[in-house]
Symmetry: C2
Subunit: 393 residues, 2 copies
């Protein structure tokens, strides 16, 4: 049996979810949608307004008679969620409001892999405070994306951040004063694709991202596939091929030795080529790969074709097993995607029945922070009473 407080909080959540999923509507329509009385809906909307979660929007005249009402919409400018990404050589922050609008975004080059983790977390705290100082909304939470696996708020594995396993990221960010959650970057990117944009709410979606490593996030039945120890959806070290290229993990033939950024650069250029200069910005180097391919450079095209085929071989296994409605390619795969899709699709078609949608992410390298900010906002939708009444003040 629910207490009255629980019932009210569930009804507040129901109204908020309706506005999120179906858009602005009148109080009368909300009453019809939820089965609540108009008086109850008015009271609930009033409370949500006081908590800074919804606002009265456009005037709305349902018919030719009666006085016009206003449409209620996710106000959202009252509260915001913060996504942070910690990666090998940068930090990124993105702030989303309840409507899914980006309220702030910042990226900071930092030698994360080469710095003490405590120092990095202090830099995150400073960066988050600075970004939030310019945002006119109350932050309700912070989610940190890390390139590794996570148990609770502790990093479990992070092949490219040697000092991070065992670190409690939430404890290190206590100075932000925000509730902190921590998750794998590719999982958060998958949630970003799922939460907004052309594939929003696709219940079965696979996200693959290529950087130094290869990451994956799987949304299955509308939920992130986490697995028994939080390692679900990991794809970089799938032993798909009998290849014997050594992998950073110590084994040989992992998928990322075939389709990771290193494989592309090795195949596309000799060691002295500026493409292989680790001191150059990655986006510049990828732009040059694209330029060479567009100019018809045979070696570049062959290298991209091999990556595409390798992606298709692995994607065939993922598609057979997980049966997603769409496979989204992010990270560097999206940047050079125009040259990957044909060989990828051919390799996939040779191994899996039926049509399969493979698309390029349009979120660029912000997918993980967007997913993080989305996750940080979710407690508000589960229980709007977690946001204090004064948030709108």
């Amino acid at each position: 049996m629910q207490t009255q407080g629980q019932v009210r909080s569930a009804n507040l959540a129901a109204v908020l979810a309706r506005l999120r999923d179906d858009g602005p509507r009148s109080r009368a329509r909300l009453a019809a949608d939820t089965g609540l009385t108009k008086a109850t809906v008015s009271s609930l909307v009033g409370e949500l307004v006081d908590r800074g979660l919804v606002a009265d929007g456009a005037l709305h005249r349902p018919g030719s008679v009666g006085r016009p009402g206003t449409l209620v919409e996710l106000g959202g400018r009252g509260v915001c969620g913060v996504g942070v990404e910690v990666n090998v050589d940068y930090l990124a922050v993105l702030v989303l409001d309840l409507r899914g609008e980006v309220r702030a975004e910042r990226r900071l080059a930092l030698d994360v892999a080469g710095s003490p983790a405590g120092q990095v977390l202090d830099a995150v705290t400073t960066l988050v405070r600075a970004v939030l100082a310019d945002v006119d909304a109350t932050p309700v939470g912070l989610t940190v994306a890390v390139p590794g696996s996570v148990q609770g708020t502790v990093v479990a594995t992070a092949p490219n951040l040697p000092g991070w396993p065992g670190l409690d990221v939430a404890a290190g960010l206590a100075g932000t004063g925000l509730p902190v959650t921590v998750a794998n970057d590719a999982d958060l990117s998958a949630l970003a694709e799922w939460s907004a944009g052309p594939h929003a709410r696709t219940p079965d979606l696979v996200y693959l991202t290529g950087e130094v490593g290869v990451g994956g996030g799987v949304v299955s039945g509308g939920r992130l596939l986490r697995g028994s120890t939080g390692l679900g959806g990991e794809v970089g070290h799938l032993a798909l091929t009998p290849g014997d290229a050594p992998c950073g993990c110590g084994r040989r033939g992992c998928w990322e030795t075939v389709v990771g950024l290193g494989a592309l650069l090795r195949a596309a250029a000799d060691p002295g080529d500026p493409l292989c200069d680790p001191g150059r910005d990655l986006e510049d180097r990828l732009a040059e790969v694209v330029a060479r391919a567009r100019a018809g450079d045979a070696r570049t095209l062959a290298a991209l074709t091999d990556i595409g085929t390798g992606l298709g071989v692995g994607a065939a296994v993922l598609v057979s097993l997980l049966d997603p409605a769409v496979v989204v390619l992010g990270g560097y795969f999206a940047v050079v995607g125009e040259f990957l899709l044909d060989p990828l699709t051919s390799a996939l078609a040779a191994r899996v029945e039926g049509p399969r949608r493979v698309v390029l992410s349009t979120l660029g390298f912000t997918a993980a922070v967007r997913g993080g900010a989305h996750v940080a906002l979710q407690p508000v939708f589960h229980d709007p009473t977690t946001v204090p009444l004064e948030a709108s003040a």
Copy 2:
């Protein structure tokens, strides 16, 4: 806002779920567990008794004073669920009551692959009626396991039952008078492992079964992984190996060409060997494989080692991607399992970090029908009022 009827039906479901998950208990304990008043619990239990779903059990004296009460338990002998398996050369039926006890079980040899589908469905109807005639409980539903993929109640693909794709199995079983659901056999087997026995309620579990084909069922986060078109968890045709053995699906190198029953028999015996006689009962042939292996026959042991290694190579991909707490081997894998586990574990350990549990199913070839009967019972737990009051009469 819920109507009073919805609230009552949710409360009935809550009491029933408590008895299922936590076992027999007093009305007072149920009141404490659910937050409902004792009077409400007494009324709810009374209704559940009238619907044949719970019963008063053992006497229970909570302390040294006060009058003794009785423990309430899933009565369950009032209603039952029916699982049917349609396979290449047999039909099977199993009836479970609400307590998970097997109330009836029957297996019938039938050349399903060689018979018109309508005739097979008539045989199913006759078999189900005959089995239920001996069961003193009201059937609430029937779930049919098929060796293929399913859309709604229509068979989508069934490589080993050529006449079945496109067939509406529920329509063909209207004569049973029961609500009919249809599902993939390996998915139902996975649910059987999940619903009872040593791995009950393991939220992340992978079930692999070997017969002529190789099937898989994945429970992820406590739910069956279905995918966007119902093909999720299919493993037989994973393109894991660059092998080129032709597969029944028309492609080459599918996993079932490496670890299916055909691969074992080809490797273990020459064509003239009685092991390869398709007219012999499969269980006899498998018993002979085990006998030869136990006697130390080198060829048989080598064949089993190869199957185990091939299973480990594929299991490594499944484990990396899905991160299950346990992998359960069913079908013929369980029968010859004592010879598969060592090579399987070695192949897995070479490809995946950390300890991984791989166990043999103890359900034998009844896993699919058990899972089906379990599924057929679920509507009762969701809404106990679907069972008419006269069910207990």
